[in-house]
């Protein structure tokens, strides 16, 4: 049946080798780059569907953070007297500036965590680097983020808060938020393929995570000796960085760099875990 293989050493003929993979997977970033258009199309699809299916659509992107801000202001600021720490801005602006990266993060987790199982019809029928799926789920949170950001601008104008020159670093912190979201999403989406109870864990995780992140209170509330531990949470750095870029005052401390380092740890480990599990997705999903 099989004859001796004649390796076609033709010039310019792309050759694909399929073999069982061993050990840790390679990241294959070059291949990922080749599929950038698919990433674009899937992101575009997610965004279209988000706004086509939701009756409130764009309004939701405004209402969600604004209503949360109002509730937090009443509960934490007015009733529990939580302040804004080193930031000399009104509490509503302070809390909204924290909610902005937080919602980007939590929205990504919720949609990207489910993304692989939700797209099982794609995974079992077509090959492409699976990273594209959670990747597009995270990127499709950006329009919501931008809408919420526009509301922040209005809010800051209304409270006459003038941003400092640090605001030029805002894109960097947005990127940091995206990388954090991506890292955690990679872990969750891959785990969800393997373990179906992850879908119940995600909402719980998001909820708990918000309380251990400086969304509704300033980091100055954390005792100094525990600050290093608190900074192991990547979102501590992201949210802190956001507020610093907007309202200035204190330069990022060494604790910020610990948080930023944790972002890298989560992202890189997520990437490797995802790549390693990727080969069995089609068999399990």
């Amino acid at each position: 049946m099989s004859s001796d293989a004649q390796p076609a050493a033709g010039t310019g003929v792309p050759t694909l080798v399929i073999e069982p993979s061993k050990g840790w997977a390679k990241l294959e970033l070059r291949e990922l780059w080749r599929y950038r258009e698919l990433l674009y199309f899937l992101t575009w699809k997610n965004i279209l569907i988000q706004y086509k299916q939701a009756v409130l659509g764009v309004a939701w992107a405004v209402l969600n953070p604004v209503l949360t801000m109002i509730v937090f202001t009443v509960i934490f600021n007015k009733l529990l007297h939580v302040g804004t720490g080193v930031y000399n801005v009104p509490y509503p602006v302070f809390v909204y500036a924290g909610l902005l990266p937080w919602n980007l993060f939590s929205g990504s987790l919720s949609s990207a965590g489910m993304s692989l199982v939700g797209n099982s019809n794609l995974i079992t029928k077509v090959y492409f680097p699976r990273l594209v799926i959670p990747g597009s789920a995270v990127l499709s949170q950006l329009p919501n983020f931008l809408i919420s950001f526009a509301v922040l601008c209005v809010l800051m104008a209304a409270y006459r808060v003038v941003p400092t020159w640090h605001v030029v670093f805002l894109p960097f912190f947005t990127l940091l938020a995206l990388v954090t979201a991506m890292g955690v999403s990679l872990w969750l989406s891959a785990l969800y393929v393997l373990y179906r109870d992850v879908q119940y864990i995600i909402p719980f995780l998001v909820q708990i995570w918000m309380y251990v992140s400086p969304v509704m209170y300033p980091t100055s509330k954390i005792p100094q000796k525990w600050m290093w531990f608190y900074s192991l949470n990547p979102m501590t750095g992201v949210i802190g960085g956001f507020r610093w870029a907007l309202f200035g005052e204190q330069a990022p401390s060494s604790m910020f760099w610990l948080s930023a380092f944790m972002v890298i740890v989560v992202f890189v480990s997520g990437l490797y875990y995802f790549r390693r599990m990727e080969r069995v997705f089609a068999d399990l999903v």
């Binding site: 099989s2 674009y40 068999d283």
Partner: protein, 424 residues
């Protein structure tokens, strides 16, 4: 001639019972991890335990020359789809190696990634990208795709308002405009109406004729015969036959006939255990005998055993009657007016249909059971077929000892309508 696909020693092993063994929830995984040392102590020595494995594909080696059109045939569960899934990189092999020289396109399903809420236009771009086309490529072929699909006026309508036919047309139109050097195709020809099927076959034929390498997995013996120059047969994970299409298909059909008579013995029920299962299919004569050959002058009964798990008024159970040449005649248990439909209630039902006497010609025929939820989705998609043989004995003509061409031989009425000759 250069080699387009080199497959050597390819194998794929699945864990059976792994679903029970493997922790399905994180909770179990954690409990397992916590109690593992304890279990190790208790069952010292039997560490790997009772996980049994199944080779879906074993030691398959095959070379495909560039420009060859190769058909892969075999029963359901023989390993055809696993082979295709490895070649398309959807799943990884356990052993062996494949080298593919050239740009690969794969088509395991038409309309992969179509979204109900999106318009036809949006879905063309999305589906094209999923199939590996670049934006520029889709853009340049967009008009051709629309023309091929014949649904230009509904292009901006959400796909959810499309009929099944329109949906399939559009989906196939995108797929038919893939231009890879090597095309890997699964059973995708059995969709759409007859006219459109023919058009698709023509388009596939054009691809096959243009020097491209095609690797086609199919149950449609007619299509395999018509399109492929070479056919390989897979049985229980092994490659058991390889040769010219006519010879291999002929032997395969003969083997099916010689097999277990006209009872489709299913290794596992067909369908969805949450909805509806087809557990057996029988072809019987009027005395209840299942071995052929069947006489065309007698009724031939088709019995399908159905287990309904979840009731649904939209279920349709039926079968395709296929001739050896690939002609399809489809019938559903809901073909008549609603009052006449046999009832499908939860539990076990045997449906019986009859091929009337005096319809079939002499030859081999197959019955492929089907089930669907009307306009929603397939539950059994004609993947498994049962073959039987018919001898023609319903025509008394002294001339009918030769076999007329075609799958049907009904006795049609003939009389003189007018005559102008002299009667004297």
């Amino acid at each position: 001639m250069s080699t387009a696909i080199e497959i050597s020693g390819l194998g794929k092993r699945y864990m059976i019972g792994a679903a029970q063994q493997r922790a399905d929830t994180l909770r179990d995984a954690i409990t397992n991890a916590a109690t593992r040392p304890l279990r190790r102590l208790r069952h010292a020595g039997s560490s790997t335990g009772h996980v049994s494995t199944m080779w879906a594909l074993r030691e398959v080696s095959l070379d495909v020359e560039a420009g060859q059109v190769v058909g892969v045939i075999g029963r359901n569960g023989a390993g055809k789809s696993t082979l295709l899934k490895i070649l398309t990189r959807i799943t990884e092999p356990t052993t062996g190696r494949v080298e593919i020289h050239g740009r690969v396109g794969s088509l395991l399903e038409v309309g992969t990634g179509f979204h109900q809420e999106l318009s036809g236009r949006e879905n063309v771009y999305l589906n094209g990208a999923i199939l590996g086309m670049t934006r520029a490529e889709i853009g340049s072929k967009f008009d051709e795709i629309v023309e091929f699909s014949e649904i230009a006026e509904f292009l901006d309508t959400p796909v959810k308002r499309y009929s099944t036919g329109m949906y399939v047309r559009l989906a196939f139109a995108v797929a038919a405009h893939l231009e890879p050097e090597i095309l890997l195709v699964d059973e995708v020809l059995s969709v759409g109406d007859v006219a459109f099927q023919r058009k698709c076959l023509g388009q596939m034929g054009a691809i096959a004729g243009s020097g491209r390498t095609v690797f086609l997995v199919s149950h449609n013996m007619g299509a395999v015969r018509g399109l492929c120059s070479r056919v390989v047969e897979i049985e229980q994970g092994h490659l058991v036959a390889d040769g010219p299409a006519d010879e291999i298909v002929g032997n395969y059909v003969a083997k099916q006939l010689a097999g277990s008579g006209s009872v489709l013995d299913l290794p596992r029920p067909l369908g969805d255990p949450d909805e509806l299962l087809i557990t057996a299919v029988r072809v019987l004569d009027d005395e209840g005998e299942t071995h052929g050959p069947f006489r065309s002058s007698q009724p031939i009964f088709i019995e399908i055993d159905v287990d309904v798990v979840r009731p649904n008024a939209a279920y349709q159970v039926g079968f395709d009657l296929l001739s050896g040449g690939g002609l399809v005649l489809r019938t559903w248990h809901t073909d008549g007016p609603p009052d006449d439909w046999p009832e499908l209630t939860v539990g076990h039902t045997t449906l019986r249909s009859v091929i009337p006497p005096g319809l079939l010609n002499e030859g081999s025929y197959a019955v492929a059971p089907r089930a669907d939820a009307y306009r929603s989705h397939w539950i059994v998609n004609g993947d498994e077929a049962i073959w039987f043989e018919v001898v023609k004995d319903h025509l008394d003509s002294p001339f009918s000892w030769v076999r007329n061409p075609g799958p049907l031989a009904p006795l049609l009425d003939w009389r003189t309508a007018s005559s102008r000759g002299s009667t004297a």
